[in-house]
Symmetry: C2
Subunit: 435 residues, 2 copies
């Protein structure tokens, strides 16, 4: 037979089992936190009609989409979980209970230019709360408590949830009478990446007056505790309704996040974050891992006025966040975040020496009945090979069963970490393993 | 804005949250059982190179594949998890530990003709054990114990794992000097569906002699306990090495399945099952839910001599099974299998009456600290609407917090099943909910 050299496409992450266990553990932690806050799971198709996914149309995204025909159908692979959510809520609206709290974890696809650390197939882990007609600002305050709970459980010692409000930004710009808000937003969003000098240069190139630039830079660099920043914002006494509404929302969100027991050190008003996406209309979030700042935001999102305007006349305001897990995992791995290299698939490996399989199966049943996870090594071969199997999979205990163990109705238990080996009753072995 | 009517493609399953919870629960049960037996997770890309996925080439499957170009690349969506496994093992062989026990749960894609109960995107839940050069027959015996454990946990009261061996079938056909084994296999595989009369007619149409047909029908209708069937097979005294090797394997598998504590009523030699796929070479399995026989086999698989001959010269024998969960879920739902319609996303809903949010958040923290899952209803509106929210989501407990509760530092707890309502201390409420 002709052999075809096996390979996968560039830009697609495929992990060895030990890493897959770590990845799945993160996915499980995210899911259990989302569920703890009452979010319901949905699972939309990976393939949808192109006209549906691209209803909004246009831009960079469209070029990246995996789009193709099958029969008469123009099909696309989903490129995020937000457009499918909008379509889902519009389609099933009458059968859903609002506010609709949903989570979805799944792969999305973008045929991006191939580069290190960028993936064409990657997991997004999203939550959104969708209101029918209206949605309380308290939901905006709950989101950071979900982020806090999730990232604590993921094992991050120090992280900051940056919070801002688009109305504060927009209102401020209006007060400054800036014509090109979208461009200004795009530029200040880069402050972290390119620094204040470069931001000032870009603002000048945009044609902003020096006085406006000074005010803008002062504004976006307002520092202090959350209370101090809010006080300074109020002290600006801006006569702009949008600004003042945004400031009121921000004040409420900050206050309730505290009441939801998120420690003060884990959330911070940051007037520089703007989120590029044009559909955010209120609260916006980014999350920075303080020990890995170069990763950038690992969990972002915000409040929007209307989720599904392309598919329904129903007004559906919402607030949500997304974690891009594939990229995060890749970068944490690169940064040596993971302390355990190889989580063990089982606690015990049972090894037969000679024809002792019947006895081994019997021992296995007794261990399983006590809740231990185990596997049996059935293959022929030298003892060293069998022990190497356990060692490679990080299985901590090996039970060796030869003729002697059968005759005396005992087991020989080996601890692979210490190398210690003892013959003892099955019950004693179970106790030792559990201890 | 123009509204586009939301829709999804036919043949794609999309569930409402209550059903999604049931579906995910099944997926979790399958996964935890696979993990209990020491199988390691892998997650291969959904998109692969067409030349890789189609190395084996041809047939019905190829027409069903979602295949397309992006840039210069000829891409396909995976249509099963077995071809990606073969590619994975061949690609990563030097980094894997053999026998390699892997599980994979994921969506696969087949553009089948649209019909009720058939899906173009569906979940497969696979385990396989892959040996390097050789693999003990004991692994074949372990597979039914995994099936047993999994389907018990899924809540099925009665099911039968049918076991056969391709060598027994092939050897018997050779002894009968049948030329067209593949056709005969295909026909007898239909016994359950079309009945013995029709099978006999098809065998005649194939040109088999009457004496051969009689022997064949006697053989595939051999009945009795596993021990009786094995005794009858041995009594045939067939002088065919393949038959005798298969009989020896079948005897061992049946004996060890018993030692692995699978009850006799849950596994049965069935000489009629042949599995259409041509790569099985030894033990084969099907699983029938006895209360839903019309669903057909819900978990099938078998032993094969060489997993990845298209990608490597390494001999990789294996044994595995697959559960097609999307179709199974659909059919169980149709058959009213699920007793609980709406698993609750939370145990408690906290409802504020008036401006009692601060107190409500405080109560929420206390409940969460005690491990209760809860959510808060933040929206304005009448009490009836708030209670309806809990009711629709099957949340069993509602905590009502008005000015009175704040003043007295108590909560009012309502049981939505009984309608009973009591005002009490927070600690007492927690105790009551937990009880």
């Amino acid at each position: 037979m002709d052999i075809m050299k096996p390979s996968i496409l560039p830009g697609f992450m495929e992990l060895l089992p030990a890493d897959q266990l770590l990845f799945n553990r993160m996915l499980d932690t995210i899911r259990s936190n989302y569920e703890k806050f009452g979010f319901l799971p949905i699972d939309t198709p990976i393939i949808e009609k192109s006209e549906i996914l691209l209803a909004k149309g246009g831009g960079e995204t469209e070029k990246q989409i995996y789009r193709f025909n099958k029969g008469d159908n123009d099909l696309s692979l989903r490129f995020d979980l937000t457009v499918p959510l909008a379509r889902y809520v519009a389609l099933h609206s009458s059968e859903l209970t609002f506010p609709f709290r949903r989570y979805q974890l799944g792969k999305v696809f973008r045929g991006e230019r191939n580069q290190k650390g960028r993936f064409r197939e990657f997991y997004q882990c999203d939550i959104d709360i969708i209101g029918n007609g209206q949605l309380s600002i308290l939901n905006d305050a709950e989101i950071p408590s979900v982020i806090y709970s999730t990232f604590k459980d993921l094992g991050f010692a120090s992280f900051t949830i940056r919070i801002n409000n688009r109305k504060v930004l927009n209102g401020f710009f209006s007060a400054l009478a800036l014509a090109n808000k979208a461009d200004v937003l795009r530029i200040i969003d880069k402050l972290d990446k390119i620094g204040p000098e470069a931001v000032i240069n870009e603002l000048r190139a945009l044609g902003l007056e020096e006085s406006a630039i000074v005010k803008l830079m002062t504004f976006i660099q307002l520092k202090g505790t959350n209370e101090e920043v809010l006080t300074k914002l109020r002290a600006m006494n801006l006569d702009n309704p949008e600004f003042n509404l945004g400031l009121e929302e921000l004040t409420q969100v900050i206050s309730y996040v505290g009441l939801l027991n998120v420690p003060e050190e884990n959330y911070q008003i940051d007037l520089t974050i703007a989120r590029g996406l044009d559909y955010y209309t209120g609260t916006i979030y980014e999350t920075i891992l303080n020990d890995y700042p170069s990763i950038g935001s690992v969990c972002s999102g915000g409040r929007y006025d209307n989720l599904a305007g392309y598919y329904t006349k129903q007004q559906l305001p919402g607030v949500g966040i997304s974690i891009g897990l594939t990229r995060l995992f890749y970068q944490l791995k690169e940064a040596n975040f993971f302390k355990i290299d190889h989580p063990a698939p089982s606690e015990v490996l049972i090894v037969t020496l000679g024809t002792t399989v019947d006895y081994a199966l019997n021992v296995a049943q007794k261990l399983r009945a006590q809740g231990l996870t185990l596997q049996l090594y059935y293959e022929d071969g030298k003892l060293a090979k069998k022990l190497a199997y356990a060692d490679k999979l990080s299985i901590p205990w090996v039970i060796l069963l030869g003729e002697n163990e059968v005759t005396e109705n005992i087991v020989t238990l080996k601890n692979l970490q210490t190398g210690e080996q003892r013959s003892l009753d099955i019950d004693d072995a179970i106790e030792l393993i559990k201890a």
